[in-house]
Symmetry: C2
Subunit: 208 residues, 2 copies
């Protein structure tokens, strides 16, 4: 009765290069009860990316069909490609009582929050801006001009952090993943998710 | 930099007999880093109660002096006795970065929240109304008519549960104490408590 029947949608954003994908992967390894929403995109896969794991890589025609048929929780375009969140996976899992993790950029996060006001909004931050730059450079998959573009983008995205419920500092992957888990568990205990139970106890107290 | 400089005030309420005092004692045993606010009262100590531990037992004159000198965070009267929260202990510990636990009734909790909007509001519930009655009867320290009076009081107090941030179900003392700890740790990660850090990262991103 403490657990709510429905799962919760957990929106995870954070600067490019902050390691939010790695934190989520660590969380899923220790807590496989979470469902991970895989975005659809029309961009080309990077060398290491697997279709259906990192993204659903689909054609522009297919993506635009999903838009028309309202099959996306949100979508956006970035660098001439579409990115979006297939709706059915999220709603099915939540209905089955599973929490769904959704890694998404800040603009998409806003749309998700508007569509799902009960979504928990988490923002992963680096311990400092300098650490973020070092991680982007160290990753090696980015050209120097791309690193600069990503940092400029991060500075713009930083304008929206206050819209998130909690920040998580990725100083250590496993520790950050465990803090994420704690935040999600805590979220389930919000009073507003237990109004039926409260009313039940209230009625029983009067009738005892 | 993740930890805020200031401690947080944690208000813990719950029905009479729900075991919130026992849960808090369990939390303090495993996490002695918390400070526990001890209320002042003018009522007589029960047999097992120790001055300065369960309450500060003080005279009516002394209590009214504290009222006049604004030394109380809140106070109220109940069954012809005063109950109140000495202010200095709370503010000193918070300033030193310690979280302060404050076990208090719902009316006092409202006053504390009005005075300290950043207070975390927790409400401890029994697994069911029936369990609450059984605990009150089983405690043996209450006369049957007092049990009835407490249950009626609980029903009235239940009207205010929605004003609390989270509910905690006391199904198991240690587990409930750990959930309380998790909720408090999670609370520290609220975005609104880290605006200075966010601004610092934002500025550094622009200047990198």
């Amino acid at each position: 009765m403490m657990s709510t029947a429905e799962g919760k949608l957990v929106v995870v954003s954070g600067f490019s290069g902050v390691g939010k994908g790695t934190v989520i992967a660590s969380l899923l390894e220790t807590h496989p009860e979470y469902a991970l929403s895989v975005s659809a995109t029309t961009r080309d896969p990077r060398e290491y990316e697997i279709d259906g794991v990192h993204y659903h890589f689909i054609s522009k025609d297919r993506f635009e069909q999903m838009i028309r048929e309202d099959d996306l929780l949100e979508y956006a375009s970035y660098l001439n490609n579409y990115y979006g969140t297939p709706k059915t996976f999220v709603t099915d899992n939540i209905a089955q009582g599973r929490d769904v993790l959704l890694e998404i950029e800040i603009q998409g996060a806003r749309k998700v929050k508007a569509a799902c006001p009960d979504a928990l909004m988490l923002f992963v931050m680096p311990p400092s801006a300098q650490v973020l730059r070092e991680r982007l450079v160290g990753r090696g998959s980015e050209k120097p001009e791309d690193v600069d573009a990503r940092l400029r983008r991060a500075a713009r995205e930083a304008e929206g952090i206050e819209e998130y419920d909690y920040i998580l500092i990725n100083d250590d992957i496993e520790a950050c993943a465990e803090r994420m888990h704690s935040l999600i568990r805590a979220y389930h205990q919000k009073t507003s998710f237990h109004l039926d139970f409260i009313q039940e106890v209230r009625n029983d107290l009067i009738n005892l």
